[in-house]
């Protein structure tokens, strides 16, 4: 299972790529493999504010709907519109084209509270 070293992770299987004061968020390779066949993504609204661990998006497979949580506190500044036409990008490229949204973090220190790659690998082992 692919777990890139340069990302941060949550227990609920989101990943975070820190880009300055922004955090790009998606779901992990492990999560997409468990969900399989993503058929619909409900994106957050630009400007929406969220607490850490706030429910912010929904990813639906054929079988079920799964909530996606904000890894850190912040404001949504960008969403991946490509997922509206092609939700399967989450399956084919979870850490790249399959990103879901970008948060402007209230505090960049917050990412330090997330898991690093080694800790996440242990969590899904």
């Amino acid at each position: 299972m692919n777990v890139p070293d340069d990302l941060f992770y949550t227990e609920s299987h989101e990943w975070v790529r820190q880009e300055g004061e922004n955090a790009r968020v998606g779901i992990t390779d492990h999560a997409q493999a468990e969900l399989t066949d993503v058929v619909y993504v409900e994106l957050p609204k630009i400007g929406a504010q969220t607490e850490a661990r706030g429910q912010i998006a929904v990813v639906e497979s054929v079988k079920a709907a799964s909530d996606i949580y904000a890894p850190v506190k912040g404001t949504v500044v960008e969403v991946n519109k490509a997922l509206e036409g092609n939700p399967a990008l989450i399956n084919t490229d979870p850490f790249g084209e399959g990103w879901i949204f970008v948060l402007k973090m209230d505090s960049t220190d917050d990412v330090k509270r997330l898991k690093d790659a080694a800790a996440y690998r242990k969590a899904i082992a």
Partner: protein, 369 residues
């Protein structure tokens, strides 16, 4: 993502095979079953285009034997067992006194005085207890579920597959019929039926043979594009055909008339459990009807328990829902108030507080082109 607890979970004789193939296993009633192997979409398409194999060993087999077995079953079940020749079967319901559905099942006449009931896994013990309680003294009833393993082999290439397994000397039985290969020295029952809308069979064999039969089917099916298929594809395939799922679309709170399945109820029979209520339902109509529906836009797929609306008024609730892999659109079934239960009616499905447009459709939702 949640580890499956092994407490009180029954495994079919194919459990090890599923794990070896990398299936994702989930609890299903008392059972632990494969939900998917290669993926629901891929498995679904394999059944629509080629052939797929499902483990149905969890399903129950009840056998009623005796000179009066047919007459007795006619008072227990809604369809007419007197119409069954030896070697044929019919879809039917087991009802409670108020006409509510205990189970939907297929009953086969396997000998002049012997009937095989293939019932839902989650209802096997309940069905058996109910039938045993109502059993006439001069017939025997046995629960043979633990003795049999079973596979559903479904898809347009099923005949080719059987030819390569059994050779030319075994013909598949016609639709709804069953053959026992005991006469040919094989412990195998083959029934031409299924839950997918494709040509197919359900086969039953002694539990000890399960892995052998499964692997033979997968091996011979390789050249035909076979896929092992899980409960996920089983659900999308049956829902495209509007075949009901007991526990979701059917329950003791609903009767077969409400569910639009009156075709499998013979009200001309003078007596069967639940008859009075069904006669009433037929005469006065039911408050609600089970209808298929299809979403109009590329919104989120519908799911069970989502509410159904029309002109700002809630008219019902979905009992099944998914994204149809064949139609690439949300589909489902819902009980709606009878005045709205007409094909073509525009409805809305409420999903996470937002309403999405859909249409009530005719059965089936998917037709082979």
């Amino acid at each position: 993502m949640t580890p499956v607890s092994d407490a009180a979970q029954k495994k079919t004789p194919l459990y090890e095979e599923h794990v070896r193939l990398g299936a994702k296993m989930i609890p299903f009633g008392d059972w632990i079953m494969p939900v998917q192997y290669s993926g629901i979409m891929d498995e679904h398409q394999a059944v629509r285009k080629n052939v797929g194999v499902f483990d149905i060993s969890h399903m129950g087999q009840l056998v009623a034997t005796g000179p009066t077995a047919g007459v007795w079953l006619n008072e227990m079940l809604t369809n007419n067992t007197q119409k069954l020749e030896v070697g044929t079967g019919q879809y039917t319901f087991l009802l409670n006194e108020s006409g509510g559905i205990i189970d939907d099942l297929i009953v086969y006449r396997t000998a002049p005085e012997e009937f095989l009931l293939v019932v839902n896994a989650s209802r096997t013990d309940e069905d058996f207890a109910w039938l045993e309680r109502h059993r006439a003294n001069d017939l025997a009833l046995s629960n043979r579920s633990a003795d049999y393993g079973g596979l559903a082999i479904q898809g347009p290439r099923v005949v080719d597959l059987f030819q390569s397994i059994l050779g030319d000397d075994v013909d598949l039985p016609p639709r709804n019929a069953i053959v026992d290969l005991a006469a040919k020295g094989k412990e195998l029952l083959i029934a031409r039926t299924g839950y997918t809308g494709e040509d197919g069979v359900e086969v039953f064999f002694p539990t000890k043979d399960a892995a052998m039969v499964w692997n033979e089917v997968l091996d011979k099916g390789k050249a035909l594009g076979i896929r092992p298929c899980g409960l996920g594809a089983r659900d999308t395939l049956r829902l495209e055909m509007c075949y009901p799922l007991n526990g979701s679309d059917l329950s003791p709170e609903h009767n077969p008339i409400e569910a639009g399945l009156g075709f499998f109820v013979d009200l001309k029979k003078p007596k069967f459990i639940g008859r009075e209520e069904l006669v009433k339902a037929k005469e006065t109509g039911t408050a609600n009807r089970l209808v298929p529906f299809r979403m109009k836009s590329k919104g989120p797929p519908p799911r069970p328990h989502y509410s159904v609306w029309r002109d700002g008024e809630q008219i019902g609730e979905a009992t099944s829902g998914t994204l149809s892999p064949s139609l690439n659109q949300g589909i489902g079934m819902a009980y709606v108030a009878a005045p709205h239960a007409r094909a073509g009616t525009e409805i809305e499905i409420e999903i996470r507080g937002q309403k999405f447009p859909g249409t009530i459709e005719k059965k089936p939702l998917y037709k082979k082109s």
